[in-house]
Symmetry: D2
Subunit: 205 residues, 4 copies
Amino acid sequence: MSLDPINELAELFRRLPGIGPRQAKRFVYYLLNADPATVTKLTDLLGRLRSQVKQCPDCQIYFASDNKNERCITCRDTTRDHSLLMIMEKDVDLEPMRRAGVYSGYYFFLGGLVPILDKEPARRVRLAALLRLIESKNKELKEIIIALATNGEGENTVDYLRQSLKSLVEKYDLKLSLLGRGLSTNSELEYTDPETISYAFKNRG
Amino acid sequence: MSLDPINELAELFRRLPGIGPRQAKRFVYYLLNADPATVTKLTDLLGRLRSQVKQCPDCQIYFASDNKNERCITCRDTTRDHSLLMIMEKDVDLEPMRRAGVYSGYYFFLGGLVPILDKEPARRVRLAALLRLIESKNKELKEIIIALATNGEGENTVDYLRQSLKSLVEKYDLKLSLLGRGLSTNSELEYTDPETISYAFKNRG
Amino acid sequence: MSLDPINELAELFRRLPGIGPRQAKRFVYYLLNADPATVTKLTDLLGRLRSQVKQCPDCQIYFASDNKNERCITCRDTTRDHSLLMIMEKDVDLEPMRRAGVYSGYYFFLGGLVPILDKEPARRVRLAALLRLIESKNKELKEIIIALATNGEGENTVDYLRQSLKSLVEKYDLKLSLLGRGLSTNSELEYTDPETISYAFKNRG
Amino acid sequence: MSLDPINELAELFRRLPGIGPRQAKRFVYYLLNADPATVTKLTDLLGRLRSQVKQCPDCQIYFASDNKNERCITCRDTTRDHSLLMIMEKDVDLEPMRRAGVYSGYYFFLGGLVPILDKEPARRVRLAALLRLIESKNKELKEIIIALATNGEGENTVDYLRQSLKSLVEKYDLKLSLLGRGLSTNSELEYTDPETISYAFKNRG
């Protein structure tokens, strides 16, 4: 049993996404050499993370709450387009969609994707919360837009959502759409995969 | 004036696309150490390149000719869809489109793109040959599909083609389409540029 | 003034070496989604970092202390070679030297390098502690080995150390040496810089 | 059997070091679109490569010959240091050594390295020519410097040369040396392999 806080902290930093053993160690030495106020502030913020950050009961995004608001800034905004709901994987996917400036509806964050052949897909995504949100919005909702990664896990998740949402989609006569496929910006034909070319040809216009 | 064939040949190899001075030199030493038959074959093939390779008068692709055929294998194939003409930049763009297996019409190869603010765009692309081909196909042709790179030069070339083809498009009531834009295969929303997201949203379905 | 702990924490994570804004944000979301015990453990370890980690008064390395030992494990080991002192830049440089298994003397960690043209070099490195350590070891010490990066900052620091240690080196008749320069493992001559080749030629044997 | 010069030429270009199928094809299209004078010049230079480039009978380097000189410019230069002979792998290794400006003796180019466990090492390197050169230089020669890559093949070749040169080295009382090992320029200790650190420590000074 190692009681060494240097190595214990490095082990913990290694769990952060994309961090290897060497960089984890460098984080520890950075903190050892840092101004004590930095470490105090970090400890303080980690403590406040749980108490001051809430998860929106509608879209499931994490947001800083002043305790007056139960729901996130987007879900609180009643001026958005109530006919549209976009399903995304994770909180950080929101920013690129916001920057594109084309979407004015509401969101839902799945919290993950369903790996191919996964036996318990319901544990990977927030399906119950999604069904609940759709039910609560059913009067005005017209279209659900699935906006997931166009890789194997993303496509598997699309299949899972199609099945899981089938009865609600039929019950409320909703349109279920996917983000369009085709050539992304700065593509060159010579280096483009056949699947993307097929979509680009079918979606020409 | 250097008459050194080692350096002269290295200089010539440097003009090949993507080759720097070091690799150019390595090519020369590779040939110096190679079986003499390899160099002889290379010299022979370079000689035959001009005499045995023709440029198709219709689509402008280079193809190996046995002197019996004036036109390339695609343009000779009368069973393809005569209502479609796809405009591509260069010969090597053909292969990915072929592999996608979705297009059955004819092609035209521009031979280049028009850089932004270029003063003599007509010198960059084979416009005269394109206009001639469209005229010759006008009875059956219904749609011209522009399949160019989705970067600045590609989009500038699209603008140039729209203007240049305008009168023919109107005269023969042709549809002018572009390959569809959207998420390419293996995109993740988090890392996707706003322009691609905008197209993906608009082209959802 | 943003009181949002998500963004505040991401800002703090950005100060960690090698972390950009996007990865900093992913750290925050990782922690938001993590088991609460992980965040508690992280907060706890950060608190203990200051109280349970000491800086060795001899070599200046950070080490986990059980409060019985004032000095680090290497400096406490009286069986090492007292005639040798190796000067390194930072704590993480120790491990590669240990793995090499060739050095059996003591260490000193400068805590930084002196940038070229820096006006206050004494603020960059722990010079006072180094001079004090050499004085305290003067009876047995015979050689000081400078083991720093072979780049501009490293070489500038070598110059600074030569000047700063000059009087002590003369007073106690010490040898001042540098790690040897030459071809590192897996070098190919074709891609080796002239300076390294010069050293490799001079140090041939 | 494909008689297509486009594909045949692409196949031949693929044999060039570092060239894949896609780049090979791009070379062919570059030449098809190039000024005819470029192809003619290339064909011409390839023809002259064999007739105007000779291999120096002493050091084995390839050099452009005007038919007046049998030997290369370095071997013809009688003012160099006759006591030194440096063994390198290949012609392109000469330039970095020249740029370093520290060596004034003669060279020998092995033409390759001996892979580990290779059963016919004599076919990999120009051993007979090396032995002949050493014999011819024996009166003034004092040191043979092996300057090969510091990887597995290079070290295996050093072993092979030590054995193969043993009797000559003893007969003429020659020194057999290797380029020095240690930290190359721009090394950081943290990222340096144990073998290099061991050499750097032993070769300190």
